[in-house]
């Protein structure tokens, strides 16, 4: 089963989506609308977002692309809900920068509170999986708490969704094709098999340090194949059997409007 949050017909709804793409609300109402309909506004799929953990250079080939040695332990940084936006929404490119790229990532969403979780039990704590695009602006990198908040904590630069897929429906989260297209052209073509630290490892690692809670998310990093994105570009991040996440880039001025 898949789960999402949408605005439809002026109502904010928690929905389930079955194998035949039939949509049912939390109240048991069936919505007579197709998943690709423009009548649906997709919200980020986690209703009460907690701490968002993201991994840097967690694919060996991406590490070499960035001229880094693969890490010996996870490189983790933290993000908050201000960065989240939904499927078919916009993300912005700041003014006067040279290089902003997408990062298509598998996300594990925590469903149960836990501390000191063993790797072999870790998936019991995962409610489901989704896809995110953890944008980065390389111009803003500095060597202090890198990747710093100016790079990774900006409004709208973590699109996520459109939905969560139950953990039980994904027998092996490390055998999934991962692709990104920009304006329809494939720019990233990898597999979650190449992940250095998998979800159970990261859950064991993080939960040695701190308690994980429902609504926390773990974004697991991106493989080789990143390119610069410009306002007007449409970026689609897809992971096999999970979902495809579409984002349109806009300028900083278009995004902030009156507040620009």
């Amino acid at each position: 089963m898949r789960h999402a949050r949408i605005i439809f017909d002026g109502r904010e709804l928690d929905i389930d989506i079955d194998a035949n793409d039939r949509i049912t609300t939390a109240d048991g109402e069936t919505l007579n609308v197709a998943l690709d309909s423009d009548q649906i506004t997709w919200l980020p799929p986690v209703k009460e977002p907690g701490t968002i953990f993201a991994l840097g250079i967690n694919y060996a080939d991406h590490a070499s692309e960035l001229a880094f040695e693969p890490p010996k332990e996870p490189l983790v940084f933290i993000k908050h809900a201000n960065t989240l936006t939904g499927h078919k929404q916009v993300s912005y490119r700041p003014d006067n920068i040279d290089y902003q790229h997408y990062e298509c990532e598998l996300v594990a969403v925590i469903g149960k509170t836990g501390k000191n979780i063993k790797r072999e039990d870790a998936l019991d704590y995962v409610a489901g999986y989704t896809v995110c695009n953890d944008f980065a602006i390389r111009d803003y990198l500095e060597n202090y708490y890198r990747p710093n908040l100016r790079v990774k904590s900006r409004d709208s630069l973590l699109p996520m969704g459109p939905w969560l897929v139950d953990t039980a429906d994904i027998p092996d989260a490390n055998a999934l094709k991962l692709t990104t297209t920009v304006n329809g052209k494939v720019t990233q073509d990898g597999t979650t098999k190449d992940m250095i630290f998998d979800v159970p490892f990261v859950i064991e690692y993080l939960s040695k340090i701190m308690t994980l809670n429902p609504g926390d998310m773990i974004c697991t990093g991106t493989p080789h194949g990143i390119v610069d994105c410009q306002p007007g570009d449409t970026i689609v991040c897809s992971i096999e059997d999970i979902c495809s996440l579409e984002t349109r880039m806009v300028s900083e001025q278009e995004f902030y409007g009156d507040k620009y």
Partner: protein, 222 residues
Amino acid sequence: MNKNTLVNSKLVCVALNDKAQLAALDSTFNEAPYKKPPTQPVLYYKPRNTWNVDGAEIEWAKDMDGNDVDTMVVGASLGVVIGKETCRVSQADALNYVEGYTVVGDYSLPEETYYRPDIKGKCQDTTAPVGPAIVAADKVTNPDALSVTVSVNGEVKSELALANLERSIAELISTISHIMTLQAGEIIAVGFAGDRVPVAKGDKVEAAIEGVGTLRNTLGGA
């Protein structure tokens, strides 16, 4: 996560904002891996599992093998509490978005490097007490003139005059609000004394700012 926390949704901390600390580390920051001193505020989050309250015990941290760590340290900061949505505000306008002030404690492992996000050092449960209360902004005439002291078992161990911060409160609010839209109840810890104070199991710690309050916590593990 402490349900009585005064923090709503986000606690942003500013590292390396003590002028004396920056001067002392200047030559280090010109070498690898830093290569040059920071040009922007150095920010980190204390996530929700760390949020705690006045009077509460701070858990003694464990290492990755599950054993008690040898050393913990504490720093304290003025906490600036945001009063309404704060998006891309100017420095001149920034203090109009402040609802009030409080005290933020940051218990952690010693700060050994600033190169990577310090999740292993700073994200332990219960290590970010905030309080004892939020003092309304109109009761604090010049927040940049305040001074933060940290006492352990009744003895003053550290004092930082906010006049010695590299970046002022208004500048930080403006800069951060151009990175992320801040919401009511979110808190910015604007700066800590560069020398964090070592603490031991069972120590009683007071972080005090005159006119704002005294935040009292005890280290666990004793």
